[in-house]
């Protein structure tokens, strides 16, 4: 609900732009899930820098909260009205936004999904994203290899984002399970697995407070928990506070996904054992480049061979590397991190 004013200001800016249809400038729209997440802040920063470099106009919007479909629909409609050449969007509701995206494409706009694929993925012209499943697999494998034979007796707590199970939430969670060697059964949902090593799932809304409360409840359920999967690093930081309060921080392997700078520093401090780093700046910069190219010669970006989206890469960050798993140290990661 918070960035109401910001989005209103942005909407006014677009209205102003609509009033001057004769200008030859190339407008690139960026629609993120929210404003208050460093990941999206970094994305915007990358898009702004690239737009400046290429001489195109960037028009940014954000939903009011994670899951705000209406706000994103309004943003896309405004961008169509403003005559944008391309729209870069991190969809909050990957299914519900699709008809609106179709309207934009019908109007001749290049639509690129950033970070979160649409459902179906080909509803966008292209997708620039982290392979979130792979991000999960990496930390899952790391945890299993670190435990060695003890992995068979592990007690794993899952701290996911939202009960509605958005795609990213599912991909990372199921990737972790696959990497750890858990039978994931139905890959489009988590929570239906019957592996006895799973302590339970809790939802932390991707923030510290939720991470702590979720961890407390799962520790109450099983005090022998020794592996924790978290959807992102703020959740991991909150979970660690709970582990400390229970005095069990030494017995637990903490894993996460994101690669934000505070998260990487937490790897360095030993709070997080391993995290999978993604590259939001690159996603946005590549997106702006693709739109500029599309405006010039009408060509559309191609997906990574073998995948149905363009993989912007993921790196495992840990200071306790294991054999057979490529990783970078927290020190190297500090040069690449965002937020």
């Amino acid at each position: 609900m918070r960035p109401v004013l910001l989005s209103t200001a942005a909407a006014l800016a677009v209205l102003a732009a609509t009033a001057l249809p004769a200008s030859a400038e190339t407008i690139v729209g960026l629609v993120t899930k929210t404003n208050n997440n460093p990941f999206f802040a970094k994305m915007k920063e990358g898009a702004e820098a690239k737009a400046k470099e290429l001489g195109v106009t960037l028009s940014s919007f954000a939903g009011k909260y994670d899951g705000d479909n209406d706000g994103q629909v309004a943003a896309v409609e405004s961008l169509i009205a403003a005559g944008a050449k391309g729209i870069l969007i991190t969809p909050s509701d990957t299914k519900a936004i699709v008809p609106t995206i179709q309207k934009a494409r019908d109007a001749g706009i290049l639509v690129i999904a950033l970070d979160t694929p649409l459902d179906p993925i080909d509803a966008a012209d292209a997708t620039f994203a982290t392979d979130n499943f792979k991000a999960g697999v990496l930390i899952g494998e790391w945890a299993a290899k670190t435990l060695g034979d003890e992995a068979a007796n592990a007690k794993i707590a899952f701290l996911d984002a939202l009960e509605t199970q958005p795609t990213v939430d599912v991909l990372r969670d199921q990737g972790f399970m696959q990497g750890f060697g858990i039978d994931i059964k139905e890959p489009h949902r988590y929570g239906e697995e019957d592996d006895p090593r799973i302590v339970g799932h809790q939802w932390g809304e991707g923030a510290e407070e939720g991470g702590r409360t979720g961890m407390e409840n799962l520790l109450q359920k099983d005090p022998d928990t020794n592996v924790v999967y978290t959807i992102n690093e703020p959740t991991a930081a909150g979970a660690y506070e709970a582990l400390k309060a229970f005095g069990v921080e030494g017995q637990v392997l903490m894993t996460s996904v994101d690669g934000g700078c505070p998260g990487v520093r937490n790897v360095q401090a030993g709070v997080i054992g391993a995290t999978s780093m993604q590259f939001p700046l690159k996603m946005a910069a590549l997106g702006v480049e693709a739109v500029a190219k599309f405006a010039e010669d009408g060509s559309k970006p191609e997906p990574t061979p073998g995948l149905d989206f363009y993989d912007t890469g993921v790196e495992l960050v840990t200071d306790k590397p294991v054999d057979g798993l490529e990783s970078i140290t927290s020190e190297e990661a500090l040069k690449l991190c965002w937020g």
Partner: protein, 344 residues
């Protein structure tokens, strides 16, 4: 003649006082009874379902820790709802205050007590702004705080640049900010200073509401502002004081928040405003103003905490936690409407 009329009067009285009516009267005089009963029943219910893991001093004290922040915000919200207002900005004020405390102390290197005081001052200023808009400009509280919720949220984003200050950095530069996270063991329970802080605030507000002239003015303003004005109460001043005090309490909640999560995070408290209203309503305070209690709000927050923790331990999907809490809200408001008929 006199005796018959007296008889008629007596029988009329008896007719009015059926057991149900008497119960209604009793609840009108003691609005916290129902929340206490619900709390006792829910604790009994989850003890039966989950067993010793739930009904253990350690777990119960954990629930207390989990509801501390919402309960503190709930005391602020109670004050405002007693005046027939509502404050949607409580969570935003809390996060803004915590970001100001954290950034000034850790990043700007200000002396920690000064940074802390400035953080509190931000809360007071936010509350004062709300109070001024509501009392002086006579704007509806819902609209005012809907607006300031966005404004404080935007200021938070701007000032924090969406950056988190990590627990270790806070611990190094400003351990005082995490002081409320300090815990001690007491008869198998683990109590944090944040929870103690919550009790102190609640006791203070309880005293203010029940033992001072200001408290009577708050109740009177909420009950009927026109009548209060005619009785010589400074309604405008009372309202401004209430919103300012609420802002101050929110900034104290910021201290408890930092203690709980260790870090300074601009993404905290996203649903804290609605959660605090939930606690107040389940605690039996009337949204129509004038009637309610601080103790009820604490119990209301505990009920929500018991349901969340109990259902999680029972392994229920968290959507049922939301379902149960939604049901509680509606039952609480229905009971409130029924009790209100006593005075009608």
């Amino acid at each position: 003649m006199a005796s018959t009329s007296q008889q008629a009067h007596v029988s009329f009285d008896e007719e009015r006082r059926t057991p149900l009516k008497r119960f209604q009267q009793f609840l009108h005089a003691n609005p916290t009874t129902i929340p206490f009963i619900v709390l006792a029943l829910s604790i009994a219910l989850f003890s039966a379902i989950v067993g010793g893991r739930f009904f253990h001093p350690f777990n119960l004290s954990l629930v207390l820790q989990q509801v501390t922040i919402i309960a503190i915000l709930g005391t602020a919200q109670t004050l405002i709802i007693l005046t027939a207002g509502i404050d949607l900005s409580v969570g935003a004020i809390m996060v803004l205050s915590s970001v100001v405390m954290g950034r000034l102390a850790v990043l700007a290197g200000l002396p920690v007590p000064l940074a802390f005081m400035l953080g509190l001052l931000v809360g007071v200023a936010c509350g004062l702004l709300n109070g001024f808009l509501v009392a002086r400009l006579k704007l509806p509280p819902f609209i005012v705080t809907l607006g300031t919720w966005s404004i404080f949220g935007a200021l938070n984003l701007w000032y924090s640049a969406s950056q988190t200050i990590r627990q270790q950095e806070v611990a190094e530069a400003a351990p005082f900010l995490q002081f409320t996270g300090t815990a001690f063991n007491f008869l198998g329970a683990r109590i944090t200073l944040g929870s103690i802080l919550m009790l102190i605030i609640a006791a203070f507000i309880w005293y203010l509401l029940n033992r001072t002239a200001f408290g009577r003015h708050v109740h009177a303003t909420g009950d009927d502002p026109e009548a209060a004005k005619l009785a010589g109460i400074n309604v405008t001043g009372t309202l401004i004081a209430v919103y300012t005090l609420a802002g101050f309490i929110c900034s104290v909640a910021a201290w408890a928040l930092i203690g709980r999560i260790g870090a300074i995070s601009s993404i905290s408290g996203a649903t804290a405003n609605l959660d605090s209203i939930t606690a107040v309503v389940i605690g039996g305070t009337s949204l129509f103003g004038g009637r309610g209690s601080i103790i009820g709000t604490l119990v209301g927050a505990l009920i929500v905490g018991v349901f969340r923790n109990g259902l999680a331990l029972a392994g229920a999907d968290s959507l049922w936690q939301e379902f149960a809490i939604g049901l509680l809200i509606i039952v609480a408001v229905a009971i409130d409407q029924w009790i209100r008929k006593v005075s009608a």
